[in-house]
């Protein structure tokens, strides 16, 4: 059975697109046929981070409006056999999306994919609503700061009350918390909320903690999802999260302040 997974947050710039690319790639790496759909109509970031921006011909809006077929619009990843991207339109706005049109595309994607990852725009307006409306599961991306936690909380309320599942009285959307841009150092200094604080406030299952890492910016500049950088802490943390999403229990890493070793202290360590 195909699964629709929305990556959402409420607040902007917390790492939704980074996460969509990483989780989508991670699922494909593990043999699951996956498509990542960019709902951020008007901005178009996903294709950049996935490194396929030069091959976008048709986009999501074209498919909804019947200007192109789905197979024409789907962009196949050049590294992974099982991975596809459906890009957002840069020339349109979110009004080009309709519940009915999105529903049709989702139904069609369900026929050929195992996982449909929806990269939500920020906010709680139409675009974000449509990105989560058809979801079976949701990854709520949160940064360890009060405003981000509040917005995630608000989004969780909408997931529970304004989705297709809730309207049909079906089983609720399964919710996962992904804490990103986590910096144990700053938590210790009291500049950021700790994992436990966020978990306590949001009271949902913790899927993973992604550390604040230079590797993310580097990866996105190169158009390579950070999960493919197996040496990086963020890449490893995303891999763990994918494992947990698939039902494996693995301990959380990168939660504590790294004690710098003697040589590292002497020569300066890698971030």
């Amino acid at each position: 059975m195909a699964k629709i997974l929305v990556i959402t947050s409420g607040k902007g710039g917390v790492g939704k697109t980074t996460t969509s690319a990483a989780i989508g790639t991670g699922l494909a790496l593990r043999g699951h046929k996956t498509v990542v759909v960019d709902f951020d109509v008007g901005l178009r970031n996903l294709d950049l981070i996935m490194g396929c921006e030069r091959r976008v011909v048709y986009d999501f809006v074209n498919v909804i409006q019947g200007d192109a077929s789905l197979s024409q619009a789907l962009i196949k990843d050049k590294r992974l056999e099982n991975l596809y991207v459906l890009a957002a339109s840069q020339t349109r706005d979110k009004d080009a999306l309709s519940t009915e049109g999105v529903g049709r595309v989702m139904d069609e994607l369900r026929e050929s994919f195992e996982y449909i990852i929806c990269d939500s725009p920020a906010g709680i307006e139409k675009g974000a609503h449509l990105a989560m409306y058809f979801a079976d599961e949701a990854i709520v991306v949160t940064n360890p700061e009060v405003s981000s936690v509040r917005d995630s909380d608000r989004m969780l309320g909408l997931l529970a009350s304004k989705s297709r599942r809730s309207e049909n009285g079906e089983e609720p959307i399964k919710e996962h918390l992904l804490l990103t841009r986590y910096s144990p150092d700053r938590v210790t200094k009291g500049e950021m909320l700790g994992v436990e604080d966020v978990e306590e406030i949001l009271a949902i299952r913790l899927l993973g903690v992604i550390p604040e890492s230079q590797s993310v910016l580097k990866a996105s500049n190169q158009g390579i999802p950070v999960i493919l950088d197996e040496q990086s802490d963020a890449g490893q943390a995303y891999s763990d999260a994918v494992e947990r999403l698939l039902g494996k229990e693995t301990p959380h890493r990168f939660l504590d302040v790294q004690k710098k070793g003697f040589l590292q202290r002497l020569f300066g360590g890698r971030e």
Partner: protein, 248 residues
């Protein structure tokens, strides 16, 4: 009687005010056949009550109907069951005119509260209060919420209590006409007794609320945070005009 007798100054009467309990028959429907039938039933239950019982016949609560009220016939029905009409209470010109035609005094519509009475054990003219049957309690089901109440959500329990078994987030709002119970951290707003019930109470496992209110009296987070019970399991009730927070 001589003229002189007429001028005798010794008073032959005295005017006295008196409050007397009197039976009021408040007519709801202009249906004399049904009235007759239902009065017969009452008489069968308490024959002592219906012996020349003085009565005020109230027509001011009568449902407006198409048919004209036959006051003469109405009085006859009452009389046949031992009720002697002293006066009518009315507000419609039509009823007042009918009463005057029969030389019956008219009382103004009552604003005083009358309690319903019925045939009691005591005989007329002062009927005893009917042993009061406890009013049917109106029990509204408690509204029970088992999933977290998130920021931006509002939950209202009309006419009753609200019971929440999951955390209530900052920015969420709970409303109830009755009590509010939160068996988890309470970080949002809770307003109990919103229709003015000062007896309503709020209970929460962890006091971390943005606002608490009972019957319109409230405390905001700024006050609540200073309370020694902040973060504790508490119970809030209204004492006079102030919210009283006590540890559970």
């Amino acid at each position: 009687m001589s003229h002189a007798d007429l001028l005798d100054p010794a008073p032959v009467f005295q005017l006295k005010g008196s409050m007397l309990a009197i039976t009021v028959l408040e007519l709801a429907h202009n249906d004399l056949a049904r009235l007759d039938h239902q009065l017969s039933e009452k008489v069968a239950q308490a024959p002592n009550f219906f012996q020349n019982t003085p009565l005020v016949l109230a027509l001011d609560k009568l449902q407006p109907g198409a048919q004209r009220l036959d006051l003469h016939a109405l009085l006859a029905v009452c009389r046949s069951h031992g009720l002697r009409t002293l006066a009518i209470r009315a507000n419609l010109a039509e009823h007042i005119a009918a009463a005057q035609a029969l030389d019956l005094p008219v009382l103004p519509p009552s604003s005083a509260r009358e309690r319903p009475i019925g045939p009691g054990a005591t005989a007329a003219p002062v009927p005893a209060k009917k042993p009061e049957k406890p009013a049917e309690p109106v029990i509204r089901p408690t509204r029970v919420v088992t999933t977290p109440v998130r920021g931006g959500q509002q939950i209202y329990a009309p006419g009753g209590d609200l019971l929440v078994l999951a955390p209530v987030s900052a920015g969420a709002e709970l409303l109830a006409d009755g009590n509010i119970h939160v068996y988890a951290p309470m970080r949002g707003r809770a307003l109990a007794g919103i229709k003015g019930n000062g007896q309503a109470r709020i209970f929460c496992r962890v006091l971390a609320a943005e606002l608490l209110s009972i019957a319109g009296r409230y405390k905001v987070a700024e006050d609540l945070r200073r309370d020694p019970n902040w973060g504790e399991a508490v119970h809030i009730h209204l004492a006079g005009d102030v919210l009283n927070i006590t540890r559970l």
